[in-house]
Symmetry: C2
Subunit: 277 residues, 2 copies
């Protein structure tokens, strides 16, 4: 496994990789969810490139950029074990040099949900992902279903910008009790960790209602809200039952609809989602 | 020479091209200026890809999108003679399908000059060039100095978005009397065509003043304005004496400064520029 930092060396090294090249962009502090992306990339590609970069432009003021967990040497050990071929760890100085002034913006699917609570977040995401795509030139790129809106945004951006890249969305990995794996779970104390299963329970409760015949989006959103309210440590920011491509809220729900939510446990902001089928 | 239309076929064909791949994006109706770009690309590349696409998103309301001259069969003959290997003629429907919503925007160097008179123009340019770069994945890309601000914008965008692409700026080709070659020259009647040399004369007059020791930006702009005023058919839109990278107007002028201007001959909008050295 080769580890490179500079863009110039990345470009050179990329040229020597056998294709198809699979790419897994990450912000590091890897967990099994990330490694699942790498494993999936290995199945579908001759070479696997992983980037580790905590992208400052997707964090808003007051968000956790400074405290975002980092452990590069552990990340590299995990990636080596999982079989990555090339790891790129760019610096902020090289990704956003003095005078940087070009942004990639997807204007519609970025508006609801995360977009409405994190203004500028998706502009940072689409800009950095475009830069990573340009530099790595992958044939396939792997993203987690856990960030459902991000997945929808990246798929839209990839189509719109004519990238010859197949986007593969990999199912969310969960702990035994249903909590979705996330780098931010490290912030939870023991009580919060126990309470955090409420996201999964709320999603599954809404799914049950759907499977029992409930087709009202408002009713399914209520089921989620009511479930979250049973957990005193949890504070809901939003729940959603939306079209999985446009992310517009649904009145009438059909198979393929996306349930999603953001819940705070103390200061920790957790996100989760479930596709109805 | 192969000619392809669909993105899918372009991607497939691109894979078989020997590198380095040189790319010349055009809006068609080719003249010797374009062919000079192709010739330069041939010198520096193993394969030359040319795109022909009249990009609707870089035309403003009231601009000449509908009447922009087109002659594909003549273009293809010229390109074959000049030695292009692959010509891509995408359709508007495939480049901007229903639901298209992603834009590439360079925010600073796009503001003055053309940017101030053609709002939205450079957003269209950077978006289409990013799409063309993504689809063609060239090693080198060739642009004319004639569109000086476009060249500066593309260089900034290429750096900012981490493209592994070398941008080559090719000197402007001129008629014997100095008129810069342009697809829009076809709009000029005989009197206007004769008057159109005033752009070149104004640039050279300012250069003379500079070579005689004039270092005031305001004075050089005046020289250009006064020269254009001697031509009754010509109406100046702007003249500029600016830094060639940032495009900010200069008070004190040094080598490398960019003189540029837009002049109307009737309804035809002509652009030209000159680098002081």
């Amino acid at each position: 496994m080769k580890v490179v930092e500079s863009l110039e060396v990345l470009w050179q090294t990329r040229k020597g990789l056998p294709g198809p090249v699979g790419f897994v962009p990450t912000m590091g502090y890897l967990h099994q969810g990330h490694l699942q992306l790498v494993r999936q990339a290995k199945k579908q590609s001759a070479s696997v490139v992983v980037s580790i970069f905590v992208n400052p432009t997707q964090f808003g003021p007051g968000e956790d950029l400074a405290s975002y967990p980092r452990d590069l040497s552990r990340d590299l050990t995990l990636l080596k074990t999982t079989g990555a071929d090339l790891v790129w760890t760019p610096t902020s100085e090289e990704m956003y040099p003095e005078g940087f002034q070009t942004w990639v913006e997807t204007t519609q699917v970025t508006q609801p949900l995360e977009g409405s609570y994190r203004p500028g977040h998706f502009r940072g995401v689409t800009t950095i992902v475009a830069k990573l795509f340009n530099a790595v030139q992958p044939d396939l790129a792997f993203f987690g279903q856990k960030d459902a809106q991000q997945a929808a945004v990246i798929q839209q951006m990839t189509r719109d910008l004519s990238y010859p890249i197949k986007i593969v969305i990999v199912p969310t990995m969960r702990e035994g009790d249903g909590l979705a794996l996330s780098s931010r779970n490290i912030y939870l104390n023991q009580e919060q960790r126990a309470a955090a299963t409420v996201l999964y329970r709320a999603l599954r409760a809404a799914e049950s209602a759907y499977l029992d015949g409930e087709r009202s989006g408002a009713a399914l959103r209520s089921v989620m809200i009511e479930t979250i309210k049973t957990e005193p440590l949890a504070e809901v920011q939003y729940v959603s039952c939306a079209d999985r491509v446009s992310l517009q809220e649904l009145d009438r729900v059909t198979d393929g609809a996306l349930l999603s939510m953001v819940v705070y446990l103390g200061k920790t902001r957790l996100i989760d989602n479930w596709i109805l089928e």
